[in-house]
Symmetry: C2
Subunit: 304 residues, 2 copies
């Protein structure tokens, strides 16, 4: 058995959120089921944002209602503030992922909060969850820092800025901290540097990486992350998606492309590549454009 790399499937959220097509909650729940059928254990299924801003994510409650709890499966809800956390609790998601930006420019545009105010917002949610932890059904919590490898508004983001934020979040007691290349500007050498800096200030937190393929460096960045010891990576079925507030961003790295690379490299992912490719083609039909992933076009390694 090779080393296991956990892939968090974010297609139903980060993927669909930036597609022009708006899919019904029932179709989005169907996508979650298909991805689980292909091997996904953790799926970012919904986002608790106002439907005025992101109509693609409207009806999170309906999506979750169609997905009753199941042992061994985790459905994650993205949360940008305390109001979103209220909705997440009410719908009974298994996990909450709180997004905080590494830059004031992106934080203000995406969430109306500068970095220091986002950290206060996150701290409040962490405290609420801590107080409720004894009660049954408190969701697990992770934080994802956006714009770690560059901001569309503020440009360069320093290693020190990232380390400061990771350190502050680790001190709150958040067990899993993600670093996101929201606009797909990162390079693998910078991935190594920022992962090492993050680990130094958060030795007891699990680090997770989230890459977009805007400048074609997504899989190189994932490889660098794995080589730097990262065991948790986000990816989106079909490579669909992006971010409506990040100009020029294209989709996340494609789950099937990542699974291909890792499997060929001798790693375990728990995914079935053929089933993933089938799910990618299915979602491509649902959104009305072919999934942009390489594997859904080229297929896997040629057979003897």
């Amino acid at each position: 058995m090779g080393r296991f790399i956990q892939i968090v499937e974010v297609g139903p959220r980060d993927g669909l959120q930036n597609e022009k097509a708006v899919l019904d909650p029932a179709v989005r729940a169907d996508l979650v089921r298909r991805l689980e059928g292909a091997g996904a254990k953790r799926i970012e299924a919904v986002s608790f944002v106002h439907p005025k801003y992101v109509p693609q994510m409207a009806g999170a409650e309906e999506v979750m209602a169609a997905l009753p709890h199941e042992a061994g499966r985790s459905r994650i809800g993205l949360v940008l503030n305390g109001k979103g956390y209220d909705r997440a609790l009410a719908t009974g998601v298994d996990e909450v992922n709180v997004s905080v930006a590494a830059t004031d420019g992106f934080g203000l545009k995406n969430q109306g909060l500068a970095v220091k105010d986002q950290l206060v917002m996150l701290g409040d949610i962490v405290a609420r969850r801590h107080n409720a932890e004894a009660s049954e059904g408190a969701p697990s919590l992770s934080a994802m820092i956006s714009c770690v490898w560059g901001c569309p508004f503020d440009g360069e983001v320093s290693v020190d800025r990232v380390a400061d934020m990771v350190g502050a979040i680790a001190e709150m007691g958040v067990g899993e901290i993600g670093l996101a290349d929201t606009i797909g500007a990162g390079d693998p050498w910078a991935v190594t540097k920022k992962v090492e800096a993050a680990r130094a200030v958060a030795p007891n937190s699990t680090l997770r990486l989230h890459f977009h393929d805007t400048r074609n460096t997504g899989l190189a960045n994932a490889y660098a992350g794995v080589e730097a010891g990262i065991d948790v990576l986000d990816a989106s079925v079909g490579g669909i998606g992006g971010c409506p507030f990040a100009p020029g961003a294209t989709g996340n790295i494609a789950t099937e492309d990542l699974v291909y690379m890792l499997t060929r490299g001798g790693f375990e992912t728990g995914y079935d590549l053929d089933a993933l490719i089938a799910a990618a083609r299915w979602i491509g039909e649902a959104i009305g454009r072919p999934a942009p992933s390489a594997l859904s076009r080229a297929g896997g390694f040629p057979r003897d």
Copy 2:
């Protein structure tokens, strides 16, 4: 100054060879000039194959006639056999690149020669060049091994097979030996392994890498190669191209995507990214489809 990585531009040959559009020799020479204007010093400009098989490469003599020798610039001609070498000598290319396949399946399909016969063919060319070396104008010579990370006909290609071939070619005295992922099936861990094996048997040869992006691993593979000490990489402007005999293969890694990644990583390439993107868009218009590279769509790092 960062470490220098030499990028051999292969768009005019490996790129255009697999496009549906057939461009006139004058247009192909124009492309070479534009790429040289963007910083390319070594360009695979022509292929000496029979126009019956690859009409896109017809008129190699006319392309070269439009490109008189210039100090500091090297125009490379691809050669598949002794007859191609005759043509290369007659046109006065600065360099000859001889292609040999790592598998019988690909060698027979692409060149009508099994591996052992291809090595004899290469040996004959090396001998001819050696005998002529004293004469003025003998082109420099490199060999490129195709299908190093997988064959569309024979499937897996072992590290031992690659090492045997590299060792045999190094023994002939070939100074630069390329390893090509012709069908874009490689992963970065396999790149590291095969580069290390090649270096062990050819410590005095320069190793060069050639990746296709068929399964989106091209830049990850390039990164792994650079980390393994490789200083020479092929790429194709706009990411155009492929191989007519490799089903499902898509373009080479795009020069501008590679330049972006390397530049962000602190390396020197000698290329001007904006000029490269302009050349990519120009060739996209000439072939009648947008260049598939990421950078020609997304642009470089966002400015502050």
